[in-house]
Amino acid sequence: GAGVSQSPSNKVTEKGKDVELRCDPISGHTALYWYRQRLGQGLEFLIYFQGNSAPDKSGLPSDRFSAERTGESVSTLTIQRTQQEDSAVYLCASSGGGTGGHEQYFGPGTRLTVT
């Protein structure tokens, strides 16, 4: 079946502009995650959605970052007033959620470059 998809695959924006990144999870997956991967570094957790529960936003680096999810489908990650340090690959993942132990399936990522 279809995997996790993300759009756009690449985004170049000017400093100070807002950007929206989109994630389509695997159908039926109740859990959705956003991560950030800076060049040469590991994954940094940003936010987690599980069903209709309140999202865990503990990883968002500043109030310029926000994310929404409609039900158990599409999620958008918004970065306002982008800064150069926001340049990274933003990865979305989904999983079966529930009691845990479910592997996360990752999308190909959106490479964001802030000039």
Binding site: G42, F45, D56, L91
Partner: protein
Amino acid sequence: AQSVAQPEDQVNVAEGNPLTVKCTYSVSGNPYLFWYVQYPNRGLQFLLKYITGDNLVKGSYGFEAEFNKSQTSFHLKKPSALVSDSALYFCAVGTNTGFQKLVFGTGTRLLVSP
């Protein structure tokens, strides 16, 4: 708090030789442990996981990992490396408490030479 350490930034191995990529973890509670692989310009792909049961877990592409509770380790292994195994490998840990946020290691680059 959960944490993962991958002590080697890079591992070099000749094709046909066995490979090991190291991972140690720290959690409160029982760990859920994962290995992912990232090929250039690609997203992360799930390789294998340990939840419970046998300490030796087998996964995709001939990889396996051994859960060692006393050493809090989950090293990734393969008996015979292929050049195509060259990639970035990430270890991750979650727990059975709370939600399933995974904490990832910083990654280990595996280079397999012909």
